[in-house]
Amino acid sequence: MNAECFVSPHDEYRIQQGDYVVLKRGDIFKAVQIVPKKKIIFEKQWFFLDNAVGNLYSTTFEISSGGILQPQKLKETGTPSDLKEAGTDNRNIVDDGKSQKLTRDDIETLKEQGLKGQEIIQQLIENSSTFRDKTEYAQDKYIKKKKKKYENTVTVLKPSCRILAMMYHGREPGKICHLRYDTLAQMLTLANIHARSKVLVFETCAGLVLGSIMERMGGYGSVIQMYPGGGPVRAGVESFGFPAHFHDTLHEFPICHVNALLAGDLDTTAKDPTADEKLCFLFEVSGTKKRHKWRPDLLVFFCFYQAQERKVKLEEKRKKLAAAAALLEGRNADGLVIASRFHPCPVLMTLLRFLAPSRPFVVYSQYKETLIECYTKLKEQGGTVNLRLSDTWLRHYQVLPNRTHPVLLMSGGGGYLLSGMTVAVDQSKPAASQRSEEPAPKRQKLKDTEG
């Protein structure tokens, strides 16, 4: 039975207008939104996504002339050449750059004639003097390489943490502090991110870390983003395409108020409303007067309207701050995740105070030294156990019959993590001794001291 029969009004498996999606070709990804008649440029090709709407996610499309997408027929995966003729080794193959008879112009002509990728590759094979001398494996490799270059397909994927993390790491690692996707995976698990918990996040990774946490919470519980500066950066969160109600669980709190909150000095109650109103009105008048000198009667009306708007916005902002403060005040958060360009030490030492005992925390840093500092401070202060400084080593493999081996290039590094668990702070004993968290440790034979 054809799966296409089951179309419901809001089908999460089908591409809809306005959806946030990820385009994929090979290992290249790009996050875009489906907007009618909008020209998208991806991998040196331009096209419109209008035709994608209504199709299932993970459909691969061919880009035909005019930038129109056509769903690819499923049969098009066979090798173009039926010729089994192949050589045994390359002892007689001379690489003089002259084996391909078609010129660049010839190939352009073929493209203009509307030949599909598969057909162009067939032409290239037929016009190559050395193709049939290559070994079967070399032929395979040649075809794969040409496919990558000439096939003009694009796959439309539903966004997920996995896809977006790989995309950011491949495209714009600087924006995410060079956080590699497997390191992000470790963070989400070590911090025990799950539905119905209360998680604190401090990140400057374009919202990727925040979005990943929200995905793992599924719209349950709450996430409080602590942010430096004027406002929280969340561009990456949009790309996840979360349903609207997920944003109800997301709160933000500016770090400039953290000390006040910890001291109990933060006042988030509503101030005198009329004073607010007057202030807003005066502010609007001073600003607007400069622009609208010619209509003094409209001026008054306009200023009054703007002042009301501003008052409403300020009140909303105050309410949000109060809500976030209420969530934090109890100092009973369930998890803490830090991943930023800021020095992690002060961030960690301050935000840890909001965590309940027996809860995990994870700190990411591009640099090991900053985490060594954190580790040392935590050992001195006490109140944490199971501290671990780690990183992960990641390697991909090519798996083909008789050609299985690790891939030639591998990631040099993916950043470092410091993870641990909070415990009840010991009120009776001062936390001065270096070993206060480790009961009766074994003597070490080496001169080195741990921690």
Partner: protein, 296 residues
């Protein structure tokens, strides 16, 4: 307490994790009137545990002390009694992300083994997802079912005692993700495909220690039309934070210096805060092969 939701205080019937020191944890079934022996002495459940907040320090009879922690799948992985070789957190974390698991996901897994990965999956898919796990060894299947019940996650999981290669997962067309950790995964690829939802995008993962197994599995995946087939391995490197003292050599009095000596006999060493790698580390656990199911 449950493995999928936090609570604040230890209660009768909970499973708690006792932290004894670096890399040393043990699970404890909390029971009114019971006692637990540790190397630091006895823990009396009624007085020391029940009613205390998780994270508390508990002083044992011999005077030494421990911490009592709320269970998490990560602590369970390190504390659980092994019935088989288990998956550790590094692989589990990678699998969780690459399979795109989240609340509401429906997952099929085989073999269940000691339940290390199972607990992590349950934590991630709660409260609305479901795990269908298949284990062909009868006693292991029974033991893991007992643990799921004790850990208050049994409403999220169905354990089936059967051979996945012959009989599949017991469900069809429902799974968002399938995980295989069995000797001959290529024999289960067809069943995995059948268990998965018909729409495209379902994720599959196969874990195998041997490269030959990986090769056969990849071939089966290609034959069954899977896409985005990708094999990788991930290894954890731990860095031991240490203060190291390096002695400075004495080359004798320096005639070039203007009398201000930096290296008097009293300062014959430099202290350095650094990390050292462990002497040995796990160099291999298994190869992880991922793939995406196309529409069927």
């Amino acid at each position: 307490m449950s493995f999928v939701e936090y609570s604040d205080c230890i209660q009768d019937g909970d499973v708690a994790i006792v932290y004894l020191g670096h890399n040393s944890v043990m699970p404890v079934k909390v029971q009114q009137g019971a006692q637990t022996q540790t190397r630091y002495g006895v823990i009396r459940h009624s007085s020391d545990l029940i009613g205390q907040p998780y994270g508390s320090k508990v002083t044992c009879s011999k005077g030494g002390w421990v911490y009592v922690l709320h269970p998490t799948p990560e602590l369970w992985t390190v504390a659980l009694p092994h019935r088989t070789q288990i998956l550790y957190t590094t692989d589990i974390a990678t699998i969780t992300m690459m399979l795109e698991l989240k609340p509401g996901s429906v997952v099929c897994e085989s073999g269940t083994g000691s339940g290390s990965l199972s607990h992590a999956i349950l934590r991630t898919i709660a409260p609305t997802g479901h795990l269908h796990t298949v284990e062909f060894h009868q006693q292991r299947a029974e033991k893991v079912q007992e643990e799921f019940t004790e850990h208050r996650v049994d409403h999220l999981v169905t354990v089936r005692n059967q051979d996945v290669c012959k009989d599949g997962f017991g469900v069809t067309g429902v799974a968002d993700a399938v995980f295989l950790d069995i000797p001959s995964p290529w024999e289960a690829v067809g069943h995995a495909k059948a268990a998965m939802k018909r729409q495209a995008g379902g994720r599959l993962c196969s874990f195998s220690p041997c490269i030959e197994q990986v090769q056969r599995t990849c071939q089966a995946l290609v034959d069954q039309g899977f896409q985005e087939i990708n094999t990788l391995e991930v290894l954890l490197r731990i860095h031991d934070v240490r203060t190291v003292s390096l002695p400075l050599p004495d080359f004798g009095p320096d005639s070039r210096s203007d009398g201000v000596e930096e290296t008097s006999p009293n300062h014959a060493a430099v202290s350095l805060k650094t990390t050292t790698p462990p002497r040995e580390m796990p160099g291999h656990t298994g190869y992880l092969t991922f793939a995406t199911k196309p529409r069927t």
